[in-house]
């Protein structure tokens, strides 16, 4: 039975939860398919995550391999295919707890960078699992900065082979998933050398383990890099190469080739690589970032209406902690952010699809914009959502700290997203570089991509709001965000110019402005997010109360940003002190309004209990009972622990004489 404290929250929803779920899924049909996939996966005991929190790294890895193997069978059984509509929901249903994700990257890498001949040779083998692949790019000493990689591939004309080496310890491949234990092959990125000349980083297919007995190949040292904050199920690995020889045909050669005589030939545009990177970043935002935040919100908000603590009025029952303004102020902005970023994901996806169509027509003009946007939003969304999940975790007090709450593992997983696929600070600086360029172009009247034309529209002015209700007008706050973005971009550009004109070298000037550049890039992304949220709300159907509640969330997201970054809005007087008090008042009022719909708003995310895997967040709200039951399953509760016999018993019985 559902805890009455949770049940009562659902009776007063101001909108149709099912309609909102459908909106989030993108249509009734998608909701139906998603639910079918979830049901099939969760109904299969092999995919169970029931005892996950009690398992060791070894057990987690083994379970992930078992699941990956079983998934092949399951897909066949269910008639799911890689290109089918079900596929994107499988990963979500598994909560990512599966091996061979890098195997997929291995295949994609060959498809993008390999010649037709190479694709024909390797991809069928990989899709039949006759080999297991990985993707070895990152080294101990180098991550995001690819040019710095130190692994070498020297071409030997005599044997028509490449000789791969790890010349020093920092050149060891480090981190690639599936490589520590599983992979038989991997794509190694190495500096290509021919006749003593270096041609930069190139991809090579290298076999690392025997296809017969899985033992390491000659010249290969490989293993697992040891425990991490999360990803216990993944065997992130290291790889050391000592004079490993591979045939000339193993260099992926769609874009460049080493001919038998050692001549290096480059062909076609490599720009398509940028497009791949962009695609990965946008997919990552939805799978690895927004979904975990939605889960964390679900857990924390449901728990906050079940947990009662202290009294709001003497003589009354203890209050639900969600009724405290401070708790609302912690959680509801995170909920609003989950929706804001869900809609920005749609926006980016659209941009990406458009870009894809252009590229197919051999028009690469949209690439810089796409690249800048995917970098900036990857950084902003991962960073925002990571701290949002941590806020949810800490908002659950002591019980949030238990692994059984599900929150620690959501947090430790999402925070990795701030690093992989490009370290966030570096990505923001890439976005900033694009903005600087566009700003310069715009101010000299040159054309710029439509998303940044606003940079040319900067004009001094004041916010026209007269009372706190004015701040519930999207025009008012969107304008304020735009104003701040323009101010930060233009003042940073001016600063950069000043420093260069004062005689500083360009790169020194750049480094001296990086803190400001990062801030400008964030302001740009924040503005686009607010604007997109407001525009999305406007287009929503007014039926079923959806538009109204989404409008509240949009207002909350926008005003929360102004409340928390008051300084940048006040700085040039665009917003006055009195207006900032109005922002605060409107913002705090909104908390109480959204409070009423908080539970329906997380119910709409439509996570099953199994996918939340949380003692605090399940649909029925039987928090304490479940916490107690789950704790009893802990292996530490085997009646007598070995520590008792070995250490406690002697301590309790024999120590007196020694003291």
């Amino acid at each position: 039975s559902v805890n009455p404290d949770l049940a009562s929250e659902r009776q007063t929803a101001s909108f149709s939860v099912e309609k909102l779920t459908t909106l989030l899924d993108g249509g009734v049909e998608h909701t139906r398919i998603r639910r079918a996939v979830v049901e099939a996966i969760e109904g299969d005991p092999i995919f169970s995550r029931e005892n996950q929190y009690f398992q060791s790294q070894n057990e987690r890895y083994e379970a992930a391999v078992r699941k990956a193997v079983h998934l092949q069978k399951k897909m066949h059984e269910m008639g799911w295919t890689e290109n089918g509509p079900e596929f994107k929901y499988i990963y979500r249903a598994l909560s990512g707890d599966i091996a061979f994700l890098l195997h997929r990257i291995f295949m994609r890498c060959i498809s993008v960078l390999g010649s037709d001949k190479q694709i024909a040779k390797w991809v069928p083998l990989a899709s039949q699992y006759q080999l297991i692949g990985s993707y070895a790019q990152t080294e101990l000493g180098h991550g995001t900065y690819l040019q710095g990689l130190e692994t070498t591939a020297v071409f030997d004309i005599a044997t028509q082979e490449f000789i791969l080496n790890t010349p020093k310890i920092s050149a060891m491949k480090w981190w690639p998933g599936d490589m520590g234990r599983s992979a038989t092959h991997t794509v190694v990125f190495a500096q290509l050398c021919i006749h003593g000349k270096c041609y930069g980083v190139h991809p090579f297919i290298v076999q690392i383990r025997s296809l017969q007995d899985h033992s390491l190949c000659p010249g290969i040292t490989a293993g697992d890099i040891g425990p991490k904050m999360n990803f216990e199920h993944t065997d992130n690995g290291y790889l050391l190469l000592q004079n490993v020889r591979i045939p000339r045909e193993n260099m992926l050669n769609k874009f460049c080739e080493v001919q038998p005589d050692g001549t290096y030939v480059r062909r076609g545009s490599q720009q398509i690589n940028y497009f791949t990177m962009t695609t990965v970043r946008i997919t990552l935002i939805s799978d690895e970032v927004i979904i975990p935040l939605m889960k964390a919100c679900t857990i924390a908000i449901r728990y906050s209406v079940v947990r009662r603590q202290s009294k709001l009025k003497p003589g009354e029952q203890e209050a639900k902690i969600l009724d405290y303004q401070t708790q609302q102020e912690k959680l509801l902005p995170q909920l609003a952010a989950a929706y804001a970023f869900h809609f920005i994901k749609d926006y980016l996806q659209e941009l990406l699809d458009k870009g894809h169509r252009e590229i197919q027509r051999k028009n690469f003009d949209t690439l810089p914009e796409l690249h800048a946007f995917s970098s900036g939003f990857k950084a902003v969304v991962t960073q925002y959502c990571t701290s949002a999940v941590e806020i949810c975790l800490r908002a659950c007090g002591g019980h949030g700290y238990s692994l059984l709450s599900g929150l620690p593992s959501l947090y430790t997983k999402i925070l990795a997203s701030c690093i992989y696929e490009g370290e966030n600070t570096i990505l923001l600086l890439q976005t900033a570089r694009f903005l600087m360029k566009c700003f310069m172009a715009a101010s000299t009247g040159q054309p710029v991509p439509p998303s940044v034309t606003y940079l040319a529209a900067g004009k001094p002015g004041k916010c026209p709001a007269k009372n706190k209700l004015d701040f519930l007008s999207p025009d008012i706050y969107t304008e304020a965000y735009q104003h701040v973005a323009i101010r930060l971009v233009s003042s940073t550009a001016a600063k950069l110019q000043d420093l260069i004109q004062s005689g500083l070298k360009k790169h020194d000037a750049w480094n001296q402005c990086t803190v400001q550049l990062v801030q400008a890039a964030k302001a740009h992304c924040h503005y686009i997010t607010v604007k997109n949220f407001a525009e999305t709300v406007e287009k929503l159907e007014t039926k079923a109360g959806i538009q109204k509640i989404m409008k509240h969330l949009c207002d909350l997201f926008a005003l929360h940003g102004m409340f928390s970054n008051a300084g940048v809005f006040l700085h040039d007087g665009y917003i006055s002190g009195a207006q900032m008090d109005m922002v605060t008042a409107s913002y705090l009022d909104l908390l109480a309004v959204i409070r009423k719909d908080a539970v329906p708003l997380v119910d709409a995310f439509d996570f099953t209990d199994k996918s939340l895997n949380s003692a605090l967040g399940s649909y029925d709200g039987q928090v304490y009972q479940r916490l107690y039951e789950w704790a009893q399953k802990s292996p530490t509760n085997k009646q007598i622990s070995p520590a008792y016999e070995r250490y406690l018993k002697p301590l309790l019985h024999n120590t007196r004489s020694k003291m």
Binding site: S56, Y61, V65, V69, Q72, Y129, H142, G143, Y145, G148, I169, W175, D213, H214, S215, G226, Y238, R308, Q309, L312, Y324, Q325, Q327, E390, R394, G397, G398, Y401, L404, P408, L415, I419, N424, T425, K505, H507, N511, T514, Q516, A566, G567, V568, L570, H571, G577, Y624, Y628, W630, A631, S634, P635, T636, N637, S641, P642, Y647, L648, L652, H653, T655
Partner: protein, 666 residues
């Protein structure tokens, strides 16, 4: 013995420092003699083969608990063998043995024994103290329940007095009343001090403490009527058997209620305690420890991140030149140096609270409790402020180490998961901030009604003088000199005054709308928390600034002044809105502040490594491959990884179990 070859980058960094790090270490320790003694104890522990073991990262939770218990029992014996009795020295010893982690006897040593000393009658001390001292009795302190933490009055466990048998009957009447979280309860303890609602003669007399045996001496089996166990895996605290305890009509003799203050007579008559203010003292003490802990945990994380950033080279600042140390990037400095400054600030704040507590607790025994309410209110807020900052700061440090920070070998994940619960325990942080706010509002109201207030809130006195003027409180504030810490203290003071006043006025406005007192308070609580934060921030800047004049060595004072300025200016940089809105600083000054922050980053840069060396963490204590003193990071990461449990065999069993059969089938 192999000579330790220090990484060339770190050697250069250390050679370039402008001050002798050991002098700063002495300041942190409270004198050269304290440093010497600390290092002596450190050597005692780290040179003792009994305290050595495999890297804990590779052990299961059960194994980690086992190691901890092993070390704890040795620790108790050795402390006595060495005659170490000073509380601070015990703290060091314990911290070295357990490398800054919690351990299963923490509650026995830190709560069970002290509670016996302060709350037990002489008769009870005779019965329990020596057996507990000799570890025949291992106790814990069972307060928190599944349903209630910080809000103590809500606890549901009952102790009902039965005059017929002269016993208390203990019960856990609901699921939510099950004791949950106490350390050492899950597997280790055979006794617990249980907090329960006392019922006698049909009346509830509120929370009282009872000594409850929970496990059979000899077999260690739970006693009939007792259900006890481990609460399962957590984010951190793997060494600790946090436990649950459920009692069903469990009877204990009347004499097991701790009766030094309140008493239940044989016939059930309840005798009230004299004063309950005394419990304040313990809370102040524990919260002051957390402030110190915030400083230390943040220092550890900074040490790791800054040393690693000096060793790691990446990308290019100037094309064609060698890759620079990542510490040379402004963005990296901007992430790390303000945290370094905060770590120092918190050290000084922790020391201040400890000293003040010592001074006041002298007064307590002489009956002067007048300063206690302010100190209590202040430590609540500072506990929250410093632990929030440190919590976020540790994560910043980890992120600043990129991918390798995510590996357990960096040591930062462990610092984080060990530290983060301090935002919750000993008073949930938001609740703590609101306690401070209550004191601030009270002080503000006193000033409004014409009284003067003293201590850290005395700035509120100025508000009454300003009230005659029509403008905003701070609008007439003196010019702030952004290069002068003393002047910045004034700026922080003005900000605190403005936010306290705004919160108090908003509260009054809510009250005027005829809202109930509680409702009005709740509807103002976001403002109230902001006011408390501003007050704490002011206190920290003030204490840091005051510390500077105590530093005699000019070179050390110079670098500390830079850090203090950075701390103060960065705080403005992050809270620009408050300073602008109150008119304390102008747009132009804010721009200058932001510029000066960046200049300070460059000024501090050459001393960064020396500044973390001064924290003087032993490598074993630091537990980080990235933060090693010698900077030989990459070699040691490889050595570390080879010990991973997944690497026990070259071919993992999963290959035979799953991969091979699959390949055969497809």
């Amino acid at each position: 013995v192999m000579m330790m070859v220090v990484n060339a980058d770190l050697r250069r960094e250390r050679a370039a420092a402008t001050f002798p790090p050991e002098l700063l270490t002495h300041i942190l320790d409270g004198g050269a003699e304290r440093t010497r003694r600390r290092k002596e104890i450190e050597a005692l522990v780290f040179n003792d083969p009994d305290f050595q073991h495999e890297d804990l990262n590779f052990l299961s939770r059960s194994q980690r608990y086992e190691q901890a218990i092993r070390k704890s029992s040795l620790m108790v014996m050795k402390l006595r063998e060495y005659g170490i009795a000073d509380p601070e020295e015990i703290y060091w010893f314990k911290s070295f043995v357990h490398r800054g982690r919690p351990e299963p006897l923490d509650l026995h040593l830190g709560m069970f024994l002290p509670t016996l000393l302060t709350q037990a009658t002489p008769e009870q001390q005779d019965r329990f103290f020596m057996p507990a001292w000799n570890l025949e009795i291992i106790g814990t302190y069972a307060q928190t329940e599944m349903g209630h933490g910080t809000h103590l009055r809500g606890l549901e466990t009952t102790a009902t007095y039965d005059p017929a048998t002269q016993e208390f009957i203990l019960n856990s009447p609901t699921v939510t009343s099950i004791k949950w979280w106490p350390g050492g309860l899950g597997k280790t303890s055979n006794h617990a001090i249980v907090l329960a609602q006392l019922y006698t003669q049909g009346q509830c007399k509120g929370l009282h403490a009872f000594i409850v045996p929970i496990r059979q001496l000899g077999t260690h089996e739970p006693l009939p009527g007792i259900t006890v166990g481990d609460i399962g895996p957590k984010f951190g605290y793997d060494e600790m058997d946090n436990g649950y305890l459920k009692m069903d009509n469990f009877r204990i003799p009347r004499e097991n209620m701790l009766m030094k203050y309140a008493q239940v007579e044989p016939d059930g008559t309840y005798v009230k305690p004299l004063s309950d203010k005394l419990t304040y003292g313990t809370m102040v003490f524990i919260r002051s420890l957390i402030v110190g802990d915030s400083a230390r945990s943040l220092s550890r994380a900074c040490t790791i991140a800054i040393r690693y950033s000096a060793v790691r080279h990446q990308s290019e600042l100037k094309s064609g030149e060698p890759e620079p140390q990542i510490l040379d990037y402004q963005t990296q400095q901007y992430k790390l140096f303000p945290l370094l400054a905060a770590a120092y600030a918190f050290h000084f704040v922790g020391a201040y609270i400890k000293d003040t507590y010592r001074r006041i607790s002298g007064d307590i025994s002489e009956g002067d409790l007048s300063e206690l309410p302010e100190l209590h209110a202040l430590t609540a807020g500072l506990k929250a402020f410093t632990s929030w900052t440190a919590n976020a700061g540790i994560e910043e440090c980890r992120m600043a180490c990129g991918g390798h920070g995510y590996s357990r070998c960096s040591g930062i994940p462990d610092i984080y998961v060990t530290f983060t619960p301090s935002c919750t325990y000993e008073g949930e942080n938001t609740v703590m901030m609101l306690q401070t706010a209550r004191f601030l509002v009270k002080s503000y109201n006193q000033v409004s009604s014409g009284q003067r207030v003293t201590g850290m809130v005395s700035y509120l006195n100025d508000l009454s003088r300003q009230r005659i003027q029509p403008q905003h409180v701070a609008a007439r504030t003196v010019t702030v000199r952004i290069n002068d810490p003393v002047s910045l203290v004034e700026a922080y003071k003005a900000r605190a005054a403005r936010l306290v006043e705004a919160a108090a006025k908003n509260l009054q406005a809510e009250l005027n709308h005829r809202k109930s007192k509680e409702d009005a308070w709740n509807r103002t609580s976001v403002d109230l928390v902001r006011a408390s934060e501003a007050h704490c921030h002011y206190v920290i800047v003030k204490l840091f600034t005051a510390k500077l004049s105590e530093i005699s060595n000019a070179a050390v004072r110079a670098v500390m002044t830079e850090l203090c300025l950075l701390y103060a200016l960065y705080g403005i940089n992050k809270n620009t809105g408050d300073f602008l809105q109150a008119g304390i600083l102008t747009d132009a000054q804010i721009t200058q502040v932001n510029q000066h922050v960046k200049e300070l980053l460059a000024i501090i840069r050459p001393n960064a490594v020396a500044l973390v060396d001064s924290f003087d963490f032993h490598d074993v204590h630091l537990g980080s491959v990235l933060g090693r003193y010698d900077g030989n990071v990459y070699e040691n990461m490889f050595e570390w990884a080879k010990k991973s449990p997944l690497n026990k065999t070259e071919v993992h069993e999963s290959f035979h179990k799953h991969l091979k059969p699959m390949q055969a089938k497809l």
